[in-house]
């Protein structure tokens, strides 16, 4: 006969410092090996497996988020109801048009508009995941080397009435996914320029995520004519000089943002820049695969 009765077992197992030290050493060894590039293929394989799961979970998260948002706000519910009625009427009018195709078409039309206005060849894809901690600004892009994405390529997006603008640089590319270092990350530094009538002011645009997705333009000469409201564009210096450095694929004249304030520090002049597109809010973006300056 089996019966339960109160019975206290011994305290948890004693600490094993050896195992803890071993785990720390293994972690350090893995870190050193990965930094030396020994684990790159393994990591890409693992990401190829994990990425589809991440995509599904991201979609589920968006769905749950929209449900929570609806439940918490009556006004939002009413607005949603109105939108649903309008959408229903729209669907009735269009009958055979699938919503997914319509959505895809809208994105492609947007891409064509950008390609007509700028000398870029684009590839669009979803942003499927973000870094799980607040410390970095990296996103996973749903296109990789199979689609022609290479490290160093510029990634752009569009928000509201702003022009398509730089949001990051491809840092690493797997077969179907690529990690993108956002321009707001503190380790992102890109050559930038501001056109001032007959003059061009050049500097370096650096991420300042600690200040709410703002950017900093520095390494500018103190006498440079900078003013609030000026538009900051990429300088594309690496591409211009045909340097084989990671940023070589960033073309010139990609919009970045608008100067909000200018300040003098020592011999330099710095400027706070508000990006045209907040990279943290982007769900769909385009990689600039190629740039043909002669098209302009």
């Amino acid at each position: 006969m089996l019966r339960d009765r109160p019975y206290r077992l011994s305290q948890p197992a004693r600490r094993s410092p050896l195992l803890m030290i071993l785990l720390v050493l293994i972690a350090a060894a893995l870190l050193a090996a990965d930094q030396a590039g020994l684990l790159g293929p393994l990591r890409l394989h693992a990401q190829a497996i994990i990425s589809p799961v991440l995509v599904r979970m991201q979609q589920m998260g968006d769905w749950i988020g929209s449900l929570v948002g609806q439940a918490g706000d009556d006004q939002a519910l009413l607005a949603e109801l109105e939108a649903l009625r309008a959408e229903n009427a729209d669907l009735k009018a269009r009958l055979i048009q699938a919503e997914a195709l319509e959505f895809e078409n809208a994105r492609l039309r947007e891409q064509v508009r950008i390609e007509q206005a700028y000398p870029w060849q684009l590839l669009g894809a979803d942003v499927i995941a973000r870094t799980p901690d607040t410390g970095r600004r990296l996103v996973l892009f749903a296109a990789g080397t199979d689609q022609g994405v290479r490290p160093g390529m510029a990634v752009i997006a569009r928000e509201g009435s702003n022009p398509p603008a730089l949001i990051g640089i491809v840092e690493e590319a797997g077969p179907r996914t690529a990690s993108v270092l956002l321009i707001t990350d503190y380790s992102s530094a890109i050559s930038a320029q501001v056109y001032q009538e007959t003059d061009v002011v050049r500097g370096v645009i650096q991420g300042q995520w600690q200040r709410g997705s703002r950017l900093l333009l520095h390494s500018v000469a103190r006498e440079a004519p900078l003013a609030a409201g000026n538009t900051v564009l990429t300088a594309g210096l690496s591409a211009e000089l045909a340097l084989s450095v990671p940023r070589a694929a960033v073309p010139p004249n990609v919009p970045i943002g608008v100067i909000e304030m200018v300040q003098d520090t020592g011999r330099d002049r710095i400027a706070g820049v508000r990006p045209f597109v907040d990279p943290d809010r982007v769900r769909y973006a385009w990689v600039i695969l190629a740039s043909d300056e002669s098209k302009k």
Partner: protein, 179 residues
């Protein structure tokens, strides 16, 4: 004898793989599913590892931190070992320090998670400085460490109570044959 020993090893391997798989799922949830109020993410792995460590001891918590860290590295596209090292430091030190207090003390999980989060971010920022680019530590503390630690403190106590309740349930209710 040899057969039972081999079976024991197999059981250990299966147990460790299952633990890694479970923590990978948690890491995926943390990366893709959890909402980010004010762009602050809840470090679920750190929270689980610290609460587990306060109940089951530092050695077991170190295993959780190691596997959880590797899972986060895979999800976060960081160098493999970065999160693992940061988590191991935070979890081991906080568990060893706080487990000296009575388990009944409600401050135990709060202190454990606070110390764990602080050390995790300190080591993470240090590794970023060494491996990626210099980190502005003051800005990092204000923008990442402080909000992450504060948001992790909210579920710390309820989660710890759940772990403690489960541990008590397992330890007290042992089936005994009575004839």
């Amino acid at each position: 004898m040899g057969h039972s020993r081999q079976r024991r090893i197999e059981e250990i391997v299966v147990h460790e793989v299952a633990l890694f798989a479970a923590l990978l799922v948690v890491a995926l949830v943390q990366t893709a599913l959890l909402p980010r109020p004010f762009d602050v993410s809840l470090n679920l792995i750190l929270l689980l590892a610290v609460c587990h460590g306060l109940i089951a001891g530092a050695t077991s918590a170190a295993r959780w931190a190691f596997y959880g860290g590797l899972a986060l590295d895979l999800c976060a596209m960081t160098f493999i070992g970065t999160h693992a090292l940061a988590l191991l430091t935070g979890v081991i030190v906080s568990t060893v320090l706080v487990s000296r207090l009575s388990r009944e003390n409600w401050l135990v999980p709060i202190l454990g998670v606070a110390i764990g989060a602080f050390l995790y971010h300190a080591v993470y920022a240090l590794l970023l400085t060494l491996l990626v680019a210099p980190v502005d530590f003051e800005g990092y503390a204000l923008a990442a460490l402080l909000p992450d630690a504060l948001i992790a403190l909210i579920p710390a106590l309820p989660l710890y109570l759940v772990f403690r309740w489960n541990e008590d349930r397992v330890r007290r209710r042992v089936p005994v044959d009575v004839y």
